[in-house]
Point group: C2
Chain length 309, copies 2
């Protein structure tokens, strides 16, 4: 029995496009309850400038209140070296840096070339080594399966970026279908290719369900050996710079998929569904996706006991 | 390049639970447009008694008007020998008989044992041989992946039923996840097992997306060699005797999955989306699922040209 890590990115990706500013105390309750439900890792906030994303103006308070919750790995998104400095100062154990394999998406999103973003990651690693050597630095490759702006993204470029990020000192590689273009055949091919480049470094797959294939893509990735995935409560989420991008894969359904196919997640799916119902009351008018919350678990379902790491 | 057959069951399964009675002329337009969009097979109606399902009281008129549409294979559901007689009299080229592998579901649904339903299929085959020898008889095994009433359904029983139906003269076997309990690992195992029993007879998989795994299950089935699937426009559908069962897999998204992973469906997905928008105006208040209709096709998507059969 193998473990699968499902990371809730609802507090970051999930809140990026919602209309309401979620009060800090609700974010803290969200984190506390998702950890209590057994989710082993949570992206607790985004360290983008508050003027760009007012939703994350309370990042410092959220971090202060959630870092002390026992039993999970907190992480935060960083867009650049300034974000990294904030993250190091706050003592967040893991930071997620993201760049786009699509030049045009990177330009739209961070206003510079992909290579400039790769170089920036090198400076962030140096800074980490000098000031916060225990911090885990994950590097994400967005639009790895295609881009709504540019269209095709060469697979060879994705592999090249993965190798370069590892060479610069990435502790983990995240591959992201930012705009929901991926299909299961492509997922198997690209993830297998990335795994060849990154050796035994941890790998995490970030999927969106924009065209309905989110969980089919997760199932395909499980088959080729991927064991860590981003997902969000209620399938919230979307990239402000990826037109038409809808939510992340749904955390409740992703946990069901993993457990039903024989992987231990440690997650109490019914506790997640209860949390989702609370979050729905905080975000009136937002679209909540996912089927297990509506239909319940099968009578035949039995959760798998997580193995000690 | 292999072909995949997607059959629209929206006019049958899709209309089983909707509140409105869809006017006959709308059903005919639906069939005409889904065929014009390239869908090769359509379940045009259900030959259950009108007093049980008033939605299908116009079955005779629908059949009369749609049988002459060129370029597709029409079929209809039959619940028993009386339904078969109606189907033979109407000259429908293919009839779909369904029984449940779950004893309790069969009792709730058709008020008799699974074995009695199997025996009934034998009588239907005899009747076909005597009165309508050119009619194709498909036999469906519902609740093949578990049952909301009974819970577990023994896999050995599914294989036994498949073999028995073939022995009685079934021209095609349909395996159905009536209540949306299936997961990709189980789909691969059970479909592989069924294929061993039925030899070179055509096999069709009927999936529901009740717990979010519909398209993941379709992707898994494609991997083990299944090449025909039921789906419905807008993901409409549900079994009145399967509590909590929600819609069939979405036809637009299923076509995208098949084409994106290298299978030719012959379907113009954008024409399907346009039809869905029309059907939405006919069924106000119903839940329409599926992502491609909301998000559009990827910029990187190119349909695959169907091979001549």
């Amino acid at each position: 029995m193998e473990n699968v890590i499902l990371r809730d990115v609802g507090l970051r990706d999930g809140l990026q496009l919602v209309k309401a500013i979620v009060p800090t105390e609700h974010k803290i309750e969200w984190c506390r309850r998702v950890v209590a439900a057994g989710v082993p890792e949570v992206e607790i906030t985004s360290l983008v400038p508050a003027k760009i994303a007012p939703q994350f103006a309370d990042a410092e308070e959220v971090v202060a209140a959630t870092l002390s919750i026992p039993g999970y790995l907190p992480s935060a998104l960083i867009p650049n070296a300034r974000g990294a400095e904030r993250g190091f100062a706050l003592g967040i154990p893991k930071l997620n840096y993201v760049l786009s394999a699509s030049e045009e998406h990177n330009l739209a999103n961070i206003r510079r070339s992909t290579q400039a973003s790769i170089d920036d990651f090198g400076r962030i690693v140096e800074l980490r080594n000098e000031t916060a050597p225990k911090t885990c630095l994950a590097a994400g490759i967005a639009t790895a399966f295609g881009c709504t702006i540019q269209g095709e993204v060469p697979e060879a470029r994705v592999y090249e970026i993965a190798a370069e990020l590892c060479g610069l000192g990435a502790d983990e590689i995240i591959v992201a279908d930012t705009v929901g273009y991926a299909n299961p055949a492509q997922v198997k091919r690209i993830l297998t290719g990335v795994m060849k480049e990154i050796g035994d470094r941890p790998l995490l797959l970030h999927l969106h369900d924009t065209r309905g294939l989110g969980l089919a893509n997760m199932a395909a990735a499980l088959e080729v050996g991927v064991r860590a995935f981003d997902a969000s409560i209620g399938g919230l989420g979307g990239c402000p710079f990826a037109p038409g991008a809808s939510g992340n894969i749904n955390l409740e359904d992703a946990a069901f998929l993993a457990e039903a196919t024989g992987f231990a997640t440690g997650i109490d799916i019914e506790a997640l569904v209860a949390l989702r119902q609370t979050v729905e009351t905080w975000l009136p008018g937002e679209r909540f996706a996912g089927q297990v919350a509506q239909s319940g678990l099968p009578k035949t379902f039995a959760p798998i006991h997580r193995q000690a790491a």
